[in-house]
Symmetry: C3
C-alpha cells in the first residue's frame, strides 16, 4: 500500500509543470548540441578524473566532441553507482531512445549518433522544454550581461554578484564594472551608485533575484562609507588591498547589494559555504570543496538588518541543514532553498526534505532547483527530487500523520512550484 | 507485520504512566485557562511570525485571549505541515472534542468555546493529568522561587541557574540573590556560601536537580578563589566587568554549582548550545538560535573533575548527538537527555534515538521530556516520541536483532520512565 | 519482497571470502585464549565502566581471566541494547555453541568453559579464520616491530606512525627509532633517512600501507629542512620542544612519511579526528574521544602535494562523512575507508554507506574493516556491515534505481573485498 501511495502522489507531482529557480543556462545556447555537452558537465568530468582519467585527456585543446565522449565512456563503469550517472542514464533513455541500462563501449556510439540527430533538429530546445514541463528557467547572469537576445520572460535573469563582492581586486572585474555602468568609482558612494545602475538594468531586464555564493568564513557586517572610501579609492586606483582591507571591502559591497535588494524588491539568494580552488589540479569546475565549520550565526547581523529582504538560503554542507531549518523557522526573511551541489544526492535530499517539511512554514520552502548548465538536466534532476518528495509525503504525512493524499499533494506542489512563484514572482 | 509489531509495542508504551523530567510549568497555574495559553506557546507565535504575522499583532498589550487566537488562526494554514501544528491538532482532538483535521477560520470559534468551558471546570488540571497519565512533573525554578504553595512531591522543583552563571552583572539578579539568601557576597567564598543557601533551600523543597542552559562558546574551567575574589567584589559593588572578567566569574559560579551538586547529590542538567536574542525583533521566546560549532570537548575538564555528579546532557544541534552518544558511552557521569527544542522534531528524534539505543548503556538514557509551559502539551509531545520510539524498537531490535517484543517493550519503558526514577529519584 | 531481496543479496555477500584491511591483531597470538580476551575488548570494559563497574574491578593486577569475566557479566544487562553487545552474543552463538539470547549470571560459566575448551584446541586460530572466511588480515605494527615469526602473506604488516609524528618528544620513542634504524638523527635529512630505513624494512616485510591516527586540530603543512634542522637537533639532544616547535616537527615528520609513501608506493591510511586521553580516569583504551569541529580542508595542502599517494581516509565523527564523500568525489587520491570506532554502529554505517555509494566512484571505497584486537571479532563485525550493505543495495539500487540483483551484488563485493585488493594489492 505504501508503495502505491507514493506512486499516487508521484503521479500528481509529475503532472505539475515547473519553474526552475536556479540554473546556469546560457539562454543563447540552452540545449545541448552534442552528447559532449551533457557528458562534459563537471559532475561527469570530475568523477571520471577522480576515478583515474587524466585531466589532459578531458581538457585537451580542440578536442572533438565525439572523441571527448569516447574517452569518458570507459570510465562510466567506475561511477555507474552514483546518482549523477543515473541522471545521465535517464537522459539517454528519455531523450535519445536508449533502451539499455548501462552506457558503455558497446553501445555509446549509437546513442551519440541518435542524440546528434535529435539535437540537430531546429526545435530541439523546445522539445526538451516540452518533455521536461518547464514554464520558466532562472539564469545566473554576470553583472555585465546585456540581457538581450533572449526571451527574459522565460529565461529569467538573476544578478550574480560573486565578482563584485570578492573580486574587485582584479582589474578585469573593475573594468567590466566601469564599462557596464559608465561609472568609475572613486568613493564608496560612487561604488554604491554603480551597483545601483546594475540593479536598474537587471530590474528592467525582468530579473527576479540577486544571488551570490559565499565561502564558509564569510560573515557580513555593515561597513561605513567612511571606512570604505579609502578602500574603494585604493582598489580602483589599481593598488593591492591587504587581506583585511579586502574583507572590509567585500562586506561593504555585500551590504550595499542587500540595500539595493530592499529598493528593487529583489530576493537575495545566498549560497553559503563553498571554498574555491581547493583541488588546484582538478578539472574545470571540479576544484571546489568546503569546510563544514560554518554557521548561520555568521549572518545574524544581516538577517536582523534587512527584514524587508527575502533571503532564499542554500547550504553546501548537509550538517548545516538543521541550522537552515531553525533560522527559517524563526526569521521571517529566511527561506530554505533547494539541495545544493554536494548535498544534491538522495540520502541528503531526503533528510533535508523531511526536516524542512516538519518544521518550516510551508510557504517558506523552495523545494528544488536544477543548477543545470544544459536544459536536458532539469528532467532527471527534478525527477530524482520528486520521487524523494513523494515518498516523504507518503510516509511522514499520509502514513504517520493521517493526511489525505490530496492534502499531501498540495503540499508537494507548493514546495515544487507554488513557492517559486510567490517568492520570486510568477511567470507571465 | 512490521506495522502490527510497532503497534503492539506502542500500545504497551502508551499504557505506561509518565514522569516528565523537564518542563517550564508554573505549578500555581499549570493548565491552560484559554486556548490562547496553548496557541500563545512560542512555537506557534514564532512560526506564525516567521510566516508573516506581525509581532505587534501577537503581542499587543491588553490583547483579549480570544482575539489573540483569532489573529493566529489564519496563519495556521501556513504551518499545518509542521510537527508543532500536529501537537495543536492532537490537543484539540483529545481535550476539546474537535472532530476535524484542520483548525481554521471556519471552526476555531467552536473549539475556543468548548475549550473555555472545559478549562473553566474546577478539575481541569487534574483531568489533563489523568488523560496524560502523568505521575510527576519536573519544574524549572528561578533560584529565588519560594517553592511554596504547591505539592512539591508532584511538581518537582529544579534549580535553574542561568541567571547566577551568566547574569550576575545585572543588579536585579544580584538583588534577588541577596534577598533570597540573606548574603551580600564580598568574596568568592561568600558567593559560594550564598549558592549553598540556595541548594539547601531547594534540597529541602524536594528539588531533584540543578539545571542550566549554556551558549555554544562556553567551556567551563576551574577558577581559583584568589582569581574570583576581586571579580566578586567588583561585580557586587556594582562595577561593570570586562568580557574576560565576566567569563571568569561565570566559570567560577558554574564550577561552584557543580561542587554544590556533589554535596547535595543533585544531577546537573546541562542544556548545551543556545545563543540568546539572535533575532532581536522576534516574538517573546522566539529570538534564540544557535551555532552548531560546539563540541563536548569543551566540557572535558568538568566531566573529569566531577565523577560524583551525574550530568544529564541535552544538545541543541542534531550534529552534536553523536558526540553526546560517544561521551555517554565513555564517561560514567554523562547521561543522554531528551530531544531539545530545534531537535524536537521526528526526523531528528528518530536518528538520535537510534544512535543512543545502539551505543549507550540503557541505564543512561532519559528518553524524553516535554519542555512544556502548559500541561496540555505533555500528551501530544510524548505521543510523538512514543510513536518514534516504538518504531525504532520494532525495527532495530525486534526485526534486525531478533529481540522478543517483551524485551523491546522493557527497553522502551526504561528510557521512557525507569531511568527518570533511577537518575533523579522516584516519585512518592 | 523487499526483505527477500535483501536476503538474496546478503546470501551472496556472506559467501564472499574477506580481507580485513585494518586490525590490531597480534599475529603471535591472533585468537583469544579465554573469554576474557573477548570481553576484555575495550568496547565492553568501557561500556561496563560507563554503566557503573569500577575501573579497579576491571584492571586489578593479576586478575584471573575467569574472575574478570565473572565481574563483567552482571553489567551486560545494562548494555545489551548496544551493537557491541550484539557482537558478543553472535560470537558466543557462532563459536561457542551458545543457544541463549542473553548472556548472564545464569549461563555464562558454561559458555566460559566451552569457550576455554575450544580455544585450547591447537587449531583454534585456523578454525576461527575458516569460520570467518578470512583470506588476509592487515596488522597495525609499531615502527620497530621486527615483522618476524609470522606469515606476512596472511598477516599483512602496516607501518603505524603515530609515535613518529607526535611522540618524538618522548625519549623512549627516540630510543626505539635509533635502535630499530641504527640512525641517531642530528638533522632533518638524517631523520628522513631514518624513516626511510623503516619503510625499507616494512616494504621488504610485505607491508602494504603506512597508517596514522590524527587529532582534530592537526593540519599538515610542508616544513623545510632548514626549519626542521634545529628542531630535530634539539629534540634528539633531549631538550623539550615548545608546543609550536612540536607542531612544526610533527608536520615535518608527517610530510616526510608522505614522501616515503611516494617512493615505496604505499597507500597512507589517515584516521582523522581522535583526541587522546580525554577521560583520564577511563579504562585501558577507553579514554579517547573527539571534537567534531574538524574539516578535511585541513588536508588541502597534503592532498594537492601528493597526487601519487592514495589516502584511504577514515573519519571519527559521522558529521565528517559528507566531507569525506565530497573530497573522494573530487580528489583522485582520496578513498573512503570503513566506519571507524564511534561511527561503527548501524545508524551511522547505514547513512555513510548510502552517501558513499550514491556519490563516490565505486572503485574508491573500502567498505569495512574490523579494527579488531582478537580474531573472533571479524565475524560479527563484518556480519553487521554486510547486513546493512545488503539492505542499502536492495533499497537504493534494486528498488529505487531498477538495478538487477546481480549488478547490486557485484557492487557489494567490490566495496567489501575487490577494492581492498586493487588499492592495497591482492593476497598471494
Amino acid at each position: 500500500m505504501s508503495q502505491q501511495l507514493t506512486q499516487d502522489i508521484l503521479t500528481e507531482l509529475e503532472a505539475l509543470r515547473l519553474i526552475d529557480p536556479h540554473t546556469h543556462i546560457n539562454p543563447h545556447s540552452a540545449a545541448s548540441q552534442t552528447l559532449a555537452d551533457i557528458m562534459g558537465y563537471h559532475y561527469y568530468t570530475e568523477l571520471a578524473h577522480s576515478a583515474g582519467l587524466a585531466k589532459g585527456q578531458i581538457e585537451e585543446p580542440g578536442l572533438d566532441p565525439k572523441e571527448k565522449v569516447a574517452r569518458l565512456i570507459p570510465w562510466l563503469a567506475t561511477i555507474e553507482n552514483t546518482a549523477q550517472y543515473s541522471w545521465l542514464l535517464e537522459m539517454c533513455q528519455t531523450f535519445f531512445d536508449f533502451q539499455g541500462d548501462r552506457l558503455d563501449e558497446s553501445n555509446w556510439e549509437a546513442v551519440y549518433d541518435t542524440s546528434l540527430q535529435k539535437m540537430s533538429a531546429p526545435d530541439w530546445e523546445q522539445s526538451v522544454l516540452d518533455t521536461s514541463g518547464l514554464d520558466g528557467v532562472f539564469l545566473t547572469n554576470d553583472f555585465d550581461d546585456p540581457l538581450t537576445g533572449f526571451d527574459t520572460k522565460f529565461y529569467i535573469p538573476c544578478l550574480r554578484t560573486d565578482d563584485l563582492v570578492f573580486h574587485l581586486g582584479q582589474s578585469a572585474v573593475r573594468d567590466r564594472l566601469q564599462t557596464s555602468t559608465g561609472v568609475s568609482p572613486g568613493s564608496a558612494a560612487e561604488l554604491k551608485n554603480a551597483l545601483g545602475v546594475l540593479f536598474e538594468r537587471f530590474k528592467s531586464g525582468n530579473a527576479r533575484a540577486c544571488a551570490i555564493s559565499l565561502p564558509p568564513d564569510f560573515s557580513p557586517q555593515p561597513v561605513s562609507e567612511a571606512v570604505a572610501d579609502p578602500l574603494v579609492a585604493k582598489v580602483f586606483s589599481g593598488e593591492q588591498l591587504s587581506a583585511d582591507e579586502m574583507t572590509s571591502l567585500s562586506c561593504f559591497v555585500f551590504w550595499s547589494l542587500a540595500e539595493h535588494c530592499v529598493e528593487h524588491r529583489f530576493p537575495f539568494d545566498l549560497m553559503i559555504g563553498v571554498n574555491r580552488r581547493v583541488f588546484e589540479a582538478g578539472v574545470f569546475q571540479g576544484q571546489d570543496l568546503y569546510d563544514k565549520r560554518v554557521s548561520l550565526i555568521q549572518y545574524k547581523s544581516l538577517l536582523n538588518a534587512f527584514p524587508q529582504v527575502i533571503f532564499p538560503i542554500s547550504v553546501l554542507s548537509e550538517t548545516s541543514n538543521q541550522e537552515l531549518v531553525s533560522y527559517a523557522w524563526i526569521f521571517p526573511n529566511v527561506v530554505t532553498d533547494g539541495h545544493w551541489w554536494y548535498s544534491n544526492i538522495p540520502v541528503f535530499i531526503e533528510r533535508d526534505t523531511r526536516a524542512r517539511l516538519q518544521a518550516v512554514p510551508q510557504t517558506k520552502q523552495i523545494g528544488y532547483y536544477s543548477d543545470m548548465y544544459k536544459l536536458e538536466f532539469a528532467l532527471p534532476k527534478f525527477a530524482m527530487y520528486r520521487r524523494i518528495l513523494a515518498r516523504v509525503l507518503a510516509t511522514d504525512f499520509v502514513a504517520d500523520r493521517g493526511w489525505s493524499v490530496e492534502k499531501a499533494i498540495l503540499l508537494g506542489k507548493r514546495v515544487l512550484r507554488g513557492n517559486v512563484e510567490s517568492i520570486f514572482g510568477g511567470v507571465d
